[in-house]
């Protein structure tokens, strides 16, 4: 007499003692775990290594927090707040540093009345290659003061740098907020950073256009509207997506600007 057909006999496949959670672990399970646990650890560590190792290059940006920086230059109000400082190392003899505030907003302060003033400002420098931003507290305070240190002729060169049109062009690239892309987020681009970039631009951080030429060289241009004013917020849905637009490229001092109407941008 044996078991009727269809009756399952689990003991056929498993003759060992059973693992019971609250009891001593049987020898078979002990042996199995002895091999399986290190293997599992190897597997998860391997996955961790592979994921971390293949993160793409965050780019050359940095936030130079080690020392407080003090810069002296001329205050510019439009299209975005910036300080222009003399820079002998630059072929243009000057460097334009956008002013951005801590967090994802810009200073709420209106610089139009102090446009062209010589000032000394303290902040943290955010740098990507030869581009620099000055990160300052969100409100006007001790960090900015009038400066008597600049000679009058320098003030006038810094106030009205040469403007040169480089012609119209159809550019393909990505819209990003200058702050994160220049070194705060690392990586401050791509879809995972889209919300942040759009929030920063909404908060008044100047947008930039990261264009790549066909041979892979990258250029970062400061975006303005067609008249050279700040870009309106209609641009927000397009932030961080691959887009193309036709516009005029203008060099103001050392800074390349991309002047294009917000409706000129198309998602690719």
């Amino acid at each position: 007499m044996s078991l009727k057909p269809g009756v399952l006999n689990p003991s056929k496949n498993d003759k060992h003692d059973m693992f019971v959670g609250w009891d001593k672990v049987p020898v078979v399970d002990r042996r199995f775990l002895f091999g399986a646990l290190p293997l599992a650890l190897l597997g998860t560590s391997g996955a961790s290594y592979a994921i971390a190792k293949n993160v793409s290059d965050p780019g050359a940006g940095a936030r130079l927090t080690t020392a407080p920086h003090s810069v002296t230059g001329v205050l510019v109000h439009a299209p975005y707040p910036m300080i222009r400082v003399a820079d002998a190392a630059s072929v243009y003899g000057l460097r334009s540093m956008l002013i951005i505030a801590q967090g994802k907003c810009n200073t709420g302060y209106d610089f139009s009345e102090t446009q062209g003033h010589a000032v000394k400002a303290d902040g943290v420098i955010v740098q990507r290659k030869n581009r620099q931003l000055l990160e300052v507290p969100p409100f006007v305070g001790d960090w900015i003061s009038d400066s008597q240190d600049l000679p009058a002729d320098q003030i006038s060169t810094l106030s009205s740098p040469t403007e040169e049109s480089l012609g119209r062009a159809q550019l393909a690239g990505t819209i990003m907020d200058t702050k994160c892309f220049f070194g705060v987020m690392r990586p401050g681009r791509g879809k995972t950073h889209k919300a942040c970039a759009s929030l920063c631009i909404r908060g008044g951080i100047p947008p930039s256009f990261w264009a790549r030429t066909k041979d892979g060289r990258e250029t970062v241009l400061l975006m303005t509207d067609a008249e050279g004013g700040p870009v309106p917020l209609d641009i927000l849905p397009l932030v961080a997506d691959p887009v193309t637009a036709e516009g005029e490229i203008i060099r103001v001092g050392d800074l390349l600007q991309f002047r294009a109407d917000v409706n000129a941008y198309r998602r690719i």
């Binding site: 059973m18 971390a52 919300a195 908060g203």
Partner: protein, 358 residues
């Protein structure tokens, strides 16, 4: 109903389980951070907070993948039962890691801006009508909510108070959540990072989970289809008591579709439902230890005679009437009320002596 609930009924195995889990997690995150920060030269180093968000997200996804692998693995081999035993701690930790991933991402990408971070989460990427552009963050949030519900109700207290079917249904949500999580990764990290390694790992994890479920499911289906030709009327014939090893059981399907676990112990035969009161574990794959049937999944115990858990527990499962006629076990297919006492059938001592002699 039920006994006095404690947060966790600790024992040595649970401590070892949790320790191993935490060590693996620390190694995962630590290695991720070290490698992530060292991969590019200084000046190109990733920002640690952003990297930590990735590390936590990757860890949570790996953990959930493992959680989902354990079930079918344990169906395929009882050697994986130790992983099953304390799986809920792995599940709850997965939620905690995901939650950290969420909090850091919310603070890093959405806070300190002109909008409330929670508003920003929903409006900063408005491309709800696009598939590739879809705000992947929302998908992550949806999966997190499911993980939260499951973690919050993971305790046996909820299992009893929500009733087993509701609890089961709730915990089946893990599958849609896993699918949503894969979309979250695909439309987020995979879309942003171009390395093929990410696609391979994500697809590999999904494939592994799917394959294990299919294999375990196929096995179950094959045994089930082998059961169809059983007699449909009257008491069900099982076979000779001597074909059941001492302290073990055989499992037989009944006309109504239920399964009965028929145990042999101390020269007696007793039958209870095959379905554990706890999480439907297969009682027939358990053992009789210290005169109690012990479930192979989490070690719940039932007395073979009445299906009641030993004090202080009060769980009950259904029992079945059993008798032995002409050396054949017969089971009444009508289940008794859970906890109903049934006289076990006595195996003819002569036949046991013969069995021992041979």
């Amino acid at each position: 109903m039920g006994h006095q609930y404690q947060a966790v009924q600790w024992n040595k195995n649970k401590v070892v389980y949790d320790l191993y889990m935490i060590i693996s997690l620390v190694v995962f995150i630590g290695l991720f951070m070290v490698i992530g920060l060292k991969t590019y030269p200084s000046g190109h180093t990733a920002e640690p907070v952003g990297l930590m968000i990735r590390a936590l997200g990757s860890a949570a996804f790996s953990m959930l993948t493992i959680v989902l692998m354990i079930g079918p693995l344990a169906r395929l081999s009882p050697r994986f039962n130790p992983f099953l035993y304390n799986r809920r701690h792995l599940g709850v930790t997965t939620f905690l890691v995901s939650f950290l991933h969420f909090v850091l991402a919310l603070m890093w990408y959405h806070a300190a801006g002109p909008l409330n971070p929670f508003v920003s989460l929903f409006v900063s990427n408005p491309l709800y009508d696009s598939i590739p552009g879809f705000p992947f963050e929302i998908l992550g949030l949806a999966a997190l909510i499911v993980l939260f519900l499951m973690a919050a109700t993971s305790h046996d207290f909820w299992l009893n108070n929500l009733s087993a079917p509701v609890w089961k249904a709730l915990h089946m949500l893990i599958y849609p959540a896993y699918a949503i999580l894969i979309l979250h990764i695909t439309l987020g990290a995979l879309y942003t990072e171009k390395s093929i390694v990410y696609a391979v790992l994500t697809l590999g994890a999904f494939g592994l989970v799917a394959m294990l479920h299919l294999t375990a499911g196929f096995r179950e289906w094959r045994t089930d289809s082998g059961l169809r030709h059983l007699k449909k009327k009257g008491w069900v014939e099982i076979g000779s008591p001597l074909d059941i090893p001492e302290k073990r059981a055989v499992i037989a399907p009944l006309p109504g579709g239920e399964r009965v676990a028929v145990f042999r112990y101390d020269g007696k035969i007793a039958a209870i439902t095959n379905v554990c009161r706890h999480q439907n574990g297969p009682l027939g794959e358990g053992r009789v230890i210290d005169s109690c049937i012990v479930c192979p999944w989490h070690g719940w115990q039932y007395s073979p005679e009445d299906g009641i858990s030993p004090p202080p527990f009060t769980e009950k499962v259904a029992t079945y009437n059993v008798r032995i006629e002409n050396g054949v076990i017969l089971i009444d297919p009508k289940a008794n009320k859970p906890g109903a006492r049934v006289e076990p059938a006595i195996i003819d001592p002569v036949s046991i002596d013969e069995e021992l002699a041979s």
